[in-house]
Amino acid sequence: MTPEASVINYTCDEIVARLWPHLDGALPESERRRVVLHLEGCTACRSHVDYAREFLHAVREARPGAETDDALQRRVLAALQGEGFRNQS
């Protein structure tokens, strides 16, 4: 534990063990508050959390685009028509 965190409830190990659930919004409110309190006073844990947050942001930014893929849609429609599907509109 870093000296600056020694007076706070959670140890640094306990913070790191909650790092992902904290970033995923999966911690109970009481635990979340204790994590936030620790992070306010612990630069080491804060840097780990910042790094993990940047990673998650990059993963979510990398998600394949949701734009309509016209060629794929045409291909799926052609396959569906083989099953009896007919456009109604």
Binding site: R18, D24, A26, Y51, E54, T68, R86, N87, Q88
Partner: protein, 195 residues
């Protein structure tokens, strides 16, 4: 556009419902498929198979329920069917020990001189390739969490596994992704520009 082919009123109603409820979700299914399949062409095959199965089983879709979820389940079931031989249950590690590796990933990245790569590199293609290369049990939790935005509770319910297993698999999956990305950044010749 109607193509003039005669269909029964019942089938016309079924088609209309499928067209208005399921087909608009094609971009969403494509996003899921592209996240779980490495090859773009395989992903398109998976999208097509998903809609074919959905159309054949449209009678089992409950109107008013979440069609996105229904299609996503079909998509992932098809993926599991295709890879059933490779799909092995990975023993759940000690969750606490695994959780501690979250900081190790950062320490490793800093030691490799790539600690700021997320802010400075375009890692999108490398991230998708790394997700697609994960073992199935890890890939599915990452896709559900980070592509489909499900909560831990929802993932546990969807996969019928304990929430502790969701957390553990997510820890391990993200650790593996981070390791892969450190390797990628190093191979690309990236060096950290700040202390």
């Amino acid at each position: 556009m109607p193509d003039g082919t005669e269909v029964s009123p019942l089938q016309a109603a079924r088609n209309a419902e499928f067209e208005s409820v399921a087909l608009p979700l094609l971009p969403y299914v494509a996003r899921v498929a592209r996240a779980i399949v490495r090859d773009a062409s395989d992903a398109e095959d998976l999208v097509q198979e998903t809609f074919l199965r959905a159309y054949r089983q449209w009678h089992s879709f409950q109107p008013g329920t979440d069609c996105k979820r229904w299609l996503s389940q079909i998509c992932r079931n098809l993926m599991v069917d295709a890879k059933r031989k490779a799909l092995r249950e990975t023993p759940t590690p000690d969750e606490e020990l695994e959780a501690l590796s979250a900081a190790d990933a950062h320490i490793t990245a800093m030691a490799a001189g790539v600690g700021d790569m997320y802010a400075r590199m375009d890692l999108g293609p490398a991230i998708l390739a790394a997700i697609a290369g994960l073992e199935p049990v890890f890939k599915e939790v990452v896709v559900l969490s980070d592509i489909e935005d499900l909560s831990y509770d929802e993932i546990a319910a969807r996969l019928s596994i304990p929430i502790g297993t969701v957390r553990s698999r997510l820890f391990r999956a993200r650790r593996r992704l981070q390791e892969e990305l450190v390797e990628y950044a190093r191979d690309a010749g990236y060096h950290q520009t700040k202390p």
